[in-house]
Amino acid sequence: MNTSELLSGLAADVGHAPGQRLGPGVLILAVLVLVALGWGGMRITQRVRDRRTVSKPEPPWSAPETAATGAPQSPSSRTPASPQSLPSVPPAKGPSTSQSLAGLPGSQSLAGLPGSQSLAGLPSSQPPKGGWAVETHGLTKRFGVTVAVDGVELLVPRGSAFGYLGPNGAGKTTLIRTLLGLTKADGGTMSLLGVQVPAERSRALARVGAIVDEPRFHPHLTGQDNLRLLAAARGGDAEQRIAPSLARVGLTDRAGDKVAAYSMGMRQRLGVAACLLGDPELLILDEPMNGLDPAGMHEMRAMITSLVGEGRTVMLSSHLLDEVERTCDAVAIVDHGRVIRQGPIDELVRGAGAAVVQIDCAEPARAAQLIDQAGIAAGTALAENGLTVTLPAGASRELIADINRRLVRADIDVYGLHEARASLEDWFLSVTSRLGDPS
């Protein structure tokens, strides 16, 4: 029986007389079926291709010469937006990468963190004793022509509070969404707690708790019912953890209230309680301080500290530098979808040469000229009451005395010198101003 006869038979069955020409209805149906099959085939092909793309490792990362020398990059040197163009993180593999990282402002060493080892100088990023809580290589996510996450290399040691820091629109939330499988990556590899995602996403997420963007829940349900819903999805012992989780975030008394009546801060707490249902080894918190009053922020910091104290890893995304500095052991700075620095906060700030001396003196302009000509400082800037001198990386206190001597010899009256250790914010602004604005 050929196709025509088969269709004729079908047509007869659905009401046409045998031998009669096919009605357009049947032809349209046949065309629709063919279109659906073709479209389905294309989707399957696309999915297979996507899967291959995500699981395919990126080529070894290496930093350009400019990065290796530690010289400030000009805006032009940052483009095109290639993952290889920034001295962001320790490379995944390859001896060349360890060389390229030497001498970077901002040490890449994660030594001193729980379970971490120094990354600088290693031929490859040796995992710490407990392994990496989060590990990405060349992770890329695009929205059309916009690259939201651009070849991100990120290593978060276990048992630490890790800040993922960047301005609004830098791609922080997109990276988190990609890590959690909320959206598909366009390239690169990633793993959570040593488990590959998306290949073993369910297994990885069983030990991860996360808040992404502002925590929203079914407003018509109580806080407790919302947690029941999530506990049912988690399975296992999650149901038994509802009451302790609510107690931990201080919502026991309000657990029976509808979420619609919760304040923003209470929803944040409920979000944290939802994270705790799975007894997570890794918590990923996206802007957890949003909507909290100062007391709430203080308590959230205390809770994060206590969670880390229990051996959990907390990855904290924020644009609030002060909060990250107070809460985290290490940070990664992200801008325009790329990680531009990462490491322990102390080392980054110290290593970046961000210590400054504020000098109260007569003739600050001449003093600045004198210091600049001597080439002993990283930079000078006239301030309201004198002069601010930025010390180079690794400068000792002797340099401050030397500056004082030079000014006195030059007959410039010095009324006072004050050494100020730069904050993360100072360092962040220093780094981003050196990088310039690529847009």
Binding site: D13, V14, G25, L221, G236, R269, E299
Partner: protein, 377 residues
């Protein structure tokens, strides 16, 4: 409203019990807990539940309640509430309103996780997205099925206890024929009563003044099977439904409303927009389907038959269809449920009817599940 926020520090450091038992969240089959909690989430939507009650339960209570009341006050003017006509009307109305209510419920179930921001939380648990979708189906049907059963039970009880005796005659094609005839008896009766047939509109039989038995015999002999099917269908539609007929009607009603829910769920999951989904499905039920059913497009008849409302109409049990020759043309009868479409589309073969219905259920469920799996959270 002033709320007092508890202090995190007051919460103390109540430890969260540890565990190392990793649940199998990747399994695609939903767990019982997942279904029951989803059902809880739906039930707690007060507005949605009120809509369901208003559309499914309230009309039946109103119709039967008022008719019971009127009949009690004025039994001569108002027939008993349990007459077959009212049963048919109320059941058909329940099917129409029930489909709309179920579609609205499905649209809500398919979209509110997304609109409330819970979808992201659920995905982060690691639970299979397919399991999350499949859990919605029994969770939603657990609401529609009991509601429809409740309403239908009310109708059956009123029909059983407040009904009327079965009629002794059957009306079809402007003929009044004694009831309870078998095919041979019907054939004999038709041949014995040519005078009555003169004024009838029997299909396939040339009638007119002075028609004799000899003139009509070949046509009646040739068409007796069709005429008998019409006769039984008319008899069923004018009689109190028998027990087995009641069961058929109940199942048909549950199927109709279940389809409404599943299509709403799938379409809602596809669009992610509750209002749009509800409006489109209401338009499908009360505008598109009746228009296509009442207008036969000669070259698109099979296309028309792909509309689920038309396939379901073909499955409509005979007791719910209008008597033959009094309404739409109907079909030949003898279909799966002994049904005969109330609308104007010629009958479909049983396999085609079932294919369309199964296609809509499986197709929309598949589309909804696919979108759930691929959607960015």
């Amino acid at each position: 409203m002033t709320t007092t926020e508890p202090s995190l520090s007051e919460a103390g450091s109540a430890p969260v019990p540890g565990h190392r038992r990793t649940p199998r969240t990747g399994a695609w089959l939903p767990t019982w807990d997942l279904i029951t909690t989803k059902n809880l989430e739906i039930r707690k939507r007060r507005g949605l539940m009120i809509t369901m009650l208003v559309l499914i339960v309230l009309p039946t209570i109103l119709f039967y309640g008022l008719r019971l009341l009127f009949h009690a006050i004025d039994p001569h003017t108002y027939a008993p509430a349990g007459n077959p006509g009212l049963f048919s009307q109320v059941t058909n109305m329940t099917a129409e309103f029930g489909f709309i209510a179920a579609a609205a419920l499905g649209a809500a179930v398919g979209t509110t996780d997304l609109s409330d921001g819970m979808f992201r939380h659920l995905v982060i648990t690691g639970r299979s997205r397919l399991a999350l979708y499949l859990a919605r189906i029994p969770a939603g049907l657990a609401i529609t099925v009991p509601l429809v059963a409740l309403v239908f039970t009310m109708g059956c009880l009123v029909t059983s206890y407040e009904g009327i005796p079965n009629p002794t005659s059957v009306s079809m094609y402007n003929l009044t024929i004694p009831a309870n005839l078998d095919q041979i008896e019907l054939q004999t009766w038709l041949l014995d009563n040519p005078q009555q047939i003169q004024n009838s509109f029997l299909p396939g039989v040339n009638t007119g003044p002075g028609t004799t038995t000899a003139q009509i015999r070949p046509a009646i002999d040739r068409n007796i099977a069709t005429l008998y099917a019409d006769y039984t269908a008319s008899e069923l539609s004018g009689s109190n439904p028998a027990d087995n007929e009641m069961v058929k009607i109940g199942l048909w009603l549950e199927l109709e409303i279940g389809i409404g829910f599943l299509v709403g769920l799938g379409f809602g999951s596809l669009t992610g927009q509750r209002t749009t989904t509800t409006i489109v499905l209401i338009a499908l039920e009360i505008i598109v389907t009746p228009l296509l059913a009442r207008t036969q497009l000669p070259y698109f008849i099979d296309g028309q038959r792909l509309v689920v409302g038309i396939a379901m109409d073909q499955l409509r049990p005979a007791a719910l269809a209008p008597p033959v020759g009094t309404g739409g043309p109907g079909g030949p009868g003898g279909l799966l449920f002994g049904g005969r479409g109330a609308l104007g589309i010629p009958a479909m073969p049983t396999w085609a009817m079932i294919s369309v219905i199964v296609g809509w259920i499986v197709g929309w469920s598949g589309i909804g599940a696919w979108r759930m799996i691929t959607r960015d959270a």
